[in-house]
Every structure is written in C-alpha cells, then in structure tokens.
C-alpha cells in the first residue's frame, strides 16, 4: 500500500496464473486491472482509469516471458486526499516489483497542479486540486525519464504543459529513491 499524505491505495497482484481460454493471449500475458473506489460501485471513471493503468503496466511488463497466463492487479482506494491517480500508479509499480515480475523499466506517477496565478504545484491536496486551473498527471519511466502515460484535467497552454512535464521528470527521481529505500527495507529484514 502506498500513502503519500492522506491518500492511500492498497494494491494486490495475482499471477502469472492460468488464464480462462476466452481471455488468454497466445504470445503474451493478459493483464487485467480492477480499480475499486472507496465508496460506491465502480463506474465509468474507474473503467477509464483502469484502461490507463493497464496500458501503462503493459508497456513495462515483459509479457512475452509468460504467454497464455493471466495477471490480475486489484487496487482498492482506502482514502482520497488528492493526487489519486499518481498514487494508484505508484502502488501498481510497487506491486509489480514485489511480485517479482519481469519489467523493462519502473514507472512512477506524478501529479502537477497549475495554480490560477501560473505556479506549478507538485502532488496537490484535494483542496489545491479544486482551486487549480489544470491538473496534469504523468507516468514517468525510470530508464530515461520518458513519458509513459499523460492525462490532463482542465486546459493549459503548451508552454505550461512542457514546464509541468519537466518538473514531473525532476520529481520522478525522488519517487524512485523512495522505491529503492522501501525495497531495501523489505529485503534487509529477512
């Protein structure tokens, strides 16, 4: 589970396991992502986020090493205090790491909020998100800081988007350091 501030998401990964014949792919693993909101039934927003997460994970996962298997990633939102999508991305990546699945690169989620006065705020709280002009969420790959996933809410100019992207790429290093520390702690105990 990942908790930046008060937002927390619990991720569970199952697989590679035997796939149903209707769902199996002949040459690669079939990844399925389920996102459960804190309150209520999953709706259209959850489905669209599931698609974002699934395609991001599929881009880094070496599925060809496990053909005809199914990998299920279940994410449960425990609390939401802003930056939910990037929290889900980080939880997904750590779950993939913890399961020991073969990955081409790691990725991390960073949310940037564009304030009405033009300043860029990283990892906004729910209140800052409401006041912001635009919220941009990026998934940055660890190998070369390229953009794996991008999603925006609200409108912004092209220059502002590039500035947010640069800020997100810089912030990605902090998140990857956090991954390294967590994994080191986990494996130093046993």
């Amino acid at each position: 589970s990942v908790c930046p501030g008060d937002t927390s998401v619990l991720a569970g990964l199952y697989g590679p396991a035997e796939a149903k014949i209707s769902k199996e792919l002949p040459d690669r693993a079939a990844l399925e992502v389920l996102l459960r909101p804190k309150v209520g039934l999953p709706g259209v927003l959850e489905r669209s986020r599931e698609q974002l997460l699934r395609q991001t994970c599929e881009a880094v996962l070496l599925g060809v090493l496990h053909p005809r298997t199914a990998i299920s990633l279940v994410l449960q939102v425990l609390s939401d205090a802003g930056s939910l999508l990037s929290c889900c991305l980080n939880a997904a990546c750590m779950a993939l790491l913890d399961a020991g699945l073969p990955l081409a690169a790691l990725f991390c989620g960073v949310t940037c909020a564009l304030q009405p006065d033009g300043t860029i705020l990283l990892d906004p709280t729910a209140r800052q998100e409401q006041e912001a002009r635009a919220i941009l969420t990026f998934a940055i790959a660890s190998s070369d800081r390229k953009v794996l996933m991008a999603t925006t809410k609200g409108s912004c100019s092209v220059e502002e988007m590039q500035q947010c992207l640069a800020a997100a790429q810089r912030a990605a290093s902090t998140v990857f350091q956090f991954y390294r520390d967590s994994v080191r702690r986990r494996y130093s105990k046993c």
């Binding site: 259209v44 927003l45 489905r47 669209s48 599931e50 698609q51 974002l52 997460l53 699934r54 395609q55 991001t56 994970c57 599929e58 881009a59 690169a105 635009a134 941009l136 998934a139 790959a141 190998s143 070369d144 390229k146 953009v147 794996l148 996933m149 991008a150 999603t151 925006t152 809410k153 609200g154 409108s155 912004c156 100019s157 092209v158 988007m161 590039q162 992207l165 640069a166 790429q169």
Partner: protein, 280 residues
C-alpha cells in the same frame, strides 16, 4: 505474395511501408483520411433528435444525436444544467465488440468525451439553466459508432461538436401564477458554444515513429496511442496518452504542433458545413 505477408506477418508488411515514410493506403505519415460531415435533420436523418451530426473519417463512421430534456438541477449546483455524453460501440461496427453491457473501450471513450466537454469549457453549464433551482436543460449526447476503422476519439469529438452546433432549444418560461413551465416550440435558439475543441490522434510504432489518424489495423499493430485535444486559441484541452511506449517531451511537442494545424482544417470544414445548412 503481398496478401499472404499482410495476414501472416502484418508488422513486417507495415515496416516495409514505414521505411519509405508512407502507409499501405497511400497516405503520408502526417496525413489524415478524407473527413466528411453531415449536419441536421435533412442530411443526417435523425428527425427525432434536437441536434444531430454524422462524421466519416475515412471508413470510421460516427453519428451523434443530442436530445434535450428538462430536469431539476442538482442541489449543490442550482444554476447549472447537465450535459451527459454516452459513447456506444455496438456489435455492428466491428467484430471485436460483442453485444451486452458496454465494454472498457466504450466506457473509457465516454469518460474521455465528458472530460473534453469539461476541460475545454465548450459549453458553460450555467447557460443551460432556465430557472435557478427549479428547472434546467439536460443534454443527452449519444455518440454511436456505425463503422469502426480506427481513430474513434477524433471522430466522436468532431461529431459531438457538429451536433451541438446544430441544436436548437425551444424557449422555456415559467408561468408566474401556476409555477408550471411553458415550452414555446415556435421560438428556438441555438446553443452558445464558446470553444471548439478538436481531437487529433496518433499511433506510436516501434517506440519512435508517430503516425496520424491510425486505421483499425494500424491501431492493433501500434505500441501506443496519443490523443491531443486543442481549442482555437492553441490551448491544450487534453493530452491523453493511455500507457504504451514511452515518448520524450520533444515528440509530444511534435504531436501538439500537428494537432494545432489539424484544428484549423477542421474548423474551416465545420464553418463551411454550418453555413451551407443555415436557412436563408
């Protein structure tokens, strides 16, 4: 021999074309398919809808019908109406879609359209309010794909924009004495559309090559997709890159530049069509 290789080794078949900087259907990498749009009751043939448009992007055919109904506004937003988009991918448009509850692609597309409407502020919900706290318009926008040949998002956004421009809402007044609403069907006003968002989709091949307006075949072979929505001021309403191969900031910038050019082409087309159907 070429048909054999296209079915057995589609990626190698495509790579041979991409090396020469063109595609099997003869297009350049940055060229769009022929776009046609039909708006209104005469050309579009949805006579029961308040506004309708049919968009063809090559073979991809998308029809959008807008129906306006009256409802009470929400308690926390008493001066706002509703715009409810819904994208449907019926099983007739492509064999990969089965009948039954909407699949992930349809739901993700519906969410994308809702986001575009919200982000671009193309319609201000306060304009849909008739009486504060009592009555407001609800616009149900149904976008149905009739033939799926790739690039659903571009065609859907275009169809939605064209249909909304075609909508004529009757004037509704609330009778002071009885408190009931009176609909005046003879007096109709068009919707106030403030911004005109246009979507441009790209497919990423082999992590480096970007092609514009992918067909269904190209989408299946691609390693990722990017959709950029711009409005007339060159502002970004949405950058939608759902996973797929990683891109540098510079490549994203190329996409944005192409999207801005495309916006101008589409705006010209839509203005021409609207002018041709306006009654003199």
């Amino acid at each position: 021999l070429s048909i054999y290789s296209r079915t057995v080794e589609p990626l190698e078949y495509y790579r041979r074309f991409l090396k020469e900087n063109c595609r099997p259907d003869g297009r350049e990498l940055g060229e769009f398919r022929t776009t046609t749009v039909n708006i209104g009751k005469c050309l579009c043939s949805i006579t029961t809808a308040d506004g309708s448009a049919l968009v063809k992007l090559g073979n991809t055919t998308v029809i959008c019908g807008v129906k306006a109904e009256l409802a009470a506004p929400a308690v926390d937003a008493a001066n706002k109406g509703y715009i409810v988009p819904n994208v449907e991918l019926p099983s007739l448009c492509a064999e990969r879609f089965r009948s039954g509850p909407p699949g992930e692609e349809a739901q993700a597309a519906s969410q994308f359209i809702a986001d575009v409407i919200e982000n671009s502020q193309m319609m201000v919900k306060e304009d849909l309010c008739i009486a504060n706290g009592k009555l407001a318009w609800v616009l149900y926008c149904d976008i149905i794909c009739l033939d799926y040949d790739g690039n659903l998002l571009d065609a859907s956004v275009f169809a939605l924009l064209a249909a909304l421009k075609n909508v004529q809402l009757p004037l509704v007044t609330i009778n002071e004495e009885t408190g009931l609403s009176e609909v005046n069907l003879k007096q109709k006003n068009p919707l106030i559309i403030r911004k005109h968002p246009v979507a441009t989709s790209f497919a990423v091949f082999d992590d480096t090559l970007l092609i514009v307006d992918p067909t269904a075949e190209e989408e299946d072979l691609a390693t990722g997709t990017v959709t950029i929505v711009t409005d007339e001021e060159g502002r970004l309403c949405s950058v939608h890159k759902p996973g797929g191969s990683p891109l540098t900031g510079a490549k994203l910038q190329d996409c944005i530049t192409r999207a801005i050019t495309r916006h101008k082409e589409v705006k010209k087309l839509i203005d021409k069509v609207i002018k041709s159907i306006t009654p003199k």
